[in-house]
């Protein structure tokens, strides 16, 4: 009888020998540390992991992990990750990207990766600014945002990453803030377990060029009232004492105080991340202004993954074919013999 040795890893096993060069206080540090912890928990060997990225501050992350890493070119990470995973479905493939890399120059590759539902884990660090080029507005910057390239404020509306993900028929979307370390680690674990493209948007702070951009939701004094952490199967409640809840009012979501205006806990919605219809997921993901910003796993539904479908189609064709080599195949064509 063989004895199976269970390999266990600790977060430090995923650290490379490279000095981490992000600015002190940058939200990317927290994201990286949560990734180390999540990896150890998942237990995937560093040599069975490929961590890909594009260009930008966040895209430096692969250098800081002890896995196979590839720091590629601007915006193309999703396409390169698609190639890695399709070629090697047995590997754990991660795409590290930022709001500019993923949603501006890489927008096309991102939506198509999501549409195909290739089993990659996308970590989208959104600081609503171009940091590496020193402070231009990004495709997630709000209308009117003043930056070096929009001195009078932008005149364009931003992409909401969740809206784009769901619009591209995404099967997994989660959102977190960089300061919520334990939840962020859990979201990475959930994204790794999901078969298909999982997008985890991390709202990160850029201390140099966009300090405090997420302050209105991340600050301790407002956080409980301005965010809601969604958990599958649980009531959608929030507030310091979980005294508030979300209900449906016609076709709109409304925040209510439980016990007021005739609302009881029974009226409060229960989160179903596994519901195939994305309508409510989209409404939750788009909450802003008077409604709390949704955090946690907003959507997590099952669907065939691209890499598995490619592999199974090949297996299927091969099981029915007598061709094992190029020569076998060529001899099935209109062949004539010359003696």
């Amino acid at each position: 009888m063989s004895t199976e040795v269970e390999l266990t890893y600790s977060p430090k096993d995923y650290k490379s020998d490279q000095y981490v060069r992000w600015c002190p206080g940058c939200g990317d540090h927290a994201t990286l540390n949560c990734l180390y912890k999540a990896m150890a928990e998942i237990g995937v060997a560093p040599y069975n992991m490929a961590v890909l990225s594009g260009i930008g501050c966040s895209s430096r992350l692969p250098y800081y992990m002890s896995s196979y890493g590839f720091h590629t070119i601007h915006g193309r990470g999703a396409a390169i990750a698609t190639g890695v995973k399709t070629a090697r479905p047995d590997q754990s493939v991660w795409l590290i990207t930022g709001d500019g890399d993923c949603l501006a120059i890489g927008g096309n590759h991102f939506i198509h990766a999501v549409r195909r539902n290739i089993d990659i884990n996308v970590v989208l660090m959104n600081n609503k600014i171009y940091g590496l080029t020193k402070g231009q507005y990004s495709p997630t910057s709000d209308r009117g945002f003043v930056s070096k390239s929009s001195p009078f404020g932008t005149v364009e509306d931003p992409f909401i990453p969740a809206e784009l993900t769901l619009g591209a028929r995404g099967t997994f979307f989660a959102r977190s803030i960089d300061t919520d370390l334990s939840n962020l680690t859990d979201l990475f674990i959930a994204s790794a377990k999901h078969k298909g493209t999982s997008v985890v948007e991390v709202l990160v702070n850029c201390v140099i060029f966009n300090d405090g951009i997420h302050k209105t939701i991340t600050d301790k004094e407002y956080r409980a009232d301005r965010t809601i952490f969604l958990r599958h199967g649980e009531k959608m409640v929030f507030g310091k004492n979980k005294e508030k809840g979300l209900v449906l009012d016609g076709l709109k979501i409304k925040a209510v105080t439980i016990g007021e205006d005739g609302y009881s806990l029974d009226d409060v919605l229960t989160h179903d991340a596994k519901e195939k219809d994305p309508t409510l997921h989209l409404m939750l993901a788009m909450m802003a202004d008077d409604l709390p910003v949704a955090l946690g796993v907003i959507r997590d539904v099952e669907a065939p993954s691209y890499d598995e479908s490619v592999a199974s189609q090949i297996r299927d064709v091969q099981s029915k074919s007598k061709n094992h080599s190029l020569k076998d195949f060529l001899l099935t064509k209109d062949v004539w013999e010359i003696k």
Partner: protein, 616 residues
Amino acid sequence: MTEKTKVKTLEKVVIRFSGDSGDGMQLTGTIFSNLSAIFGNDISTFPDYPAEVRAPQGTLSGVSGFQVHLGSRKIFTPGDKADVLVAMNPAALKVNVKNLQPNAIVIIDTDSFQKRDLAKALFTTDDPFDELGLRNVQVISAPISTMVKDGLAEFELDNKSALRCKNMFALGLVCWLFSRPLESAMHLLQTKFAKKPAIARANIKALTDGYNYGHNIHASVSTYRIEPTTFEPGYYIDVNGNNATSYGLIAAAEKAGLTLFLGSYPITPATDILQELAKRKDLGVITVQAEDEIAGICTSIGASFAGCLAATSTSGPGLSLKSEAIDLAVISELPLVVIDVQRGGPSTGLPTKSEQTDLLQALYGRNGESPLVVIAASTPTDCFEAAFWAGKLAVEHMTPVILLTDAFIANGSSAWRIPDLEKYPSITPHYATSYKGDDWKAYRRDSETLVRYWAIPGMEGYTHRIGGLEKDYVSGGISTEPLNHQKMIYTRKAKIDKIADFIPDLKVQGDEDADLLIVGWGGTYGHLHEAMEILHEQGKKVALAHFKFINPLPRNTEEILKKYKKVVVAEQNTGQFVTYLRGKIDNFTPYKFNRIKGQPFIVARLVEEFTKILEA
């Protein structure tokens, strides 16, 4: 056979099938080529089709042609001018006037040569032959549409479906003209329409009717016999360049023990490669039809990082889009085959026509110092060899390789002997596991070849990080050190230059003591070779040096180019290869021959120009 019909034995003949782009001329031409090849002739084909899928019916812009050259000896080109033209409508006749031998046989469907049809093709009189000055051609006029409809009366086909068979009637006539038995054509039709037996029967009926018509009309034209040629024994198929390219990649993957991966985006005239490889799941080929050209190459780079023999296929505009990603493969030193099936440019240019205008783009069209391997295929069947070499050099030397073919050889076809892969050289991936030292790093190199070692996800003990930033020569980590950068630039260049030790020397064909050396590269080989043969027949001393390996050049390039009194570099651009050669070889001042019409060279013109140079 009637007494009036004389049988002539010819060495070679050129036949052009021409009609509306919906008339099925490509299928007709393909079947005739295949059955001729099966009969034992050597063949070379050239499909010439419009960029529009369906241009307005009967108009000059909608004419689609398929030319086949067959012979009882080795055939190098699809031929300059047609000995036989099948013109399904007046537009087809008009478009092909310049492609006709003076005494050619022209087969026309009189039903589609009515007033209305003539007007659509912008004829102003009732006699198109006279109007075009075609006074010596032999015309076989047949009411093809009517006879096809009558012949298929019992088949219960609607009018449109019945008329679709008229191309097979024309094929039957041509088969009669060349004394071709119909069996293999019938077999090919049965295979083609295996799922529609009624359609197969109707086509075969039209084919037979056409043959019998020729036999019965007592046509006073000559019929021809092309004797079978002598081929090397073996099993043969008819193959076009794009399929041969696909098979070459499969062969390389098979030899290397790697999975073949193709990331690609449809683009004329390269799409066939994606389509063929998508079908080859039986051989384990992975294809991804990407969202754009950039993703096509990027998925391939990902697959290469993950350990596949990775390729991407495209044409000129797509190559432009892939430039940045090719550079990523250059600096990360990953194996990658980039196939550029050249077409007319610039921009969208002439999508269905052929040119050699991407050479300098392939060599230099990227930011920074970006050396890579460039190979060019010379004939449809040579696409197999060239693709095999591309795969071999990419994997063994950890580099992107650009393989240049062109629309002419990609769509053209020839008889091809199924190769014995056992006789091909081995392909050994340069895996990290073969590194001898105990301090492996991602950019450790073989001291001889300067090739770095390939470590792929899943290999324990070899995790590493690579990327588009400059690397430290020793550790492989990010480095901005000035001296290190210069060292890396020269190392990447030296790695490619050293590949010259692993490719064959340039071979010269023709006269040792030639007065003129013809120099070419890529898809012009057939025309240049045929021009040389004609010059030989005229007693001239000429030789041909045709390049497959462009970067690096074969070691003996300079020695050969300097050996002859006169050299002419012939290419389908304004002189890109000659510019490149002059940058490599001091005091090299050859004659130039350049044509950029989107069409293959015309052999007669080459002979004329080369004769002038000889006499100069």
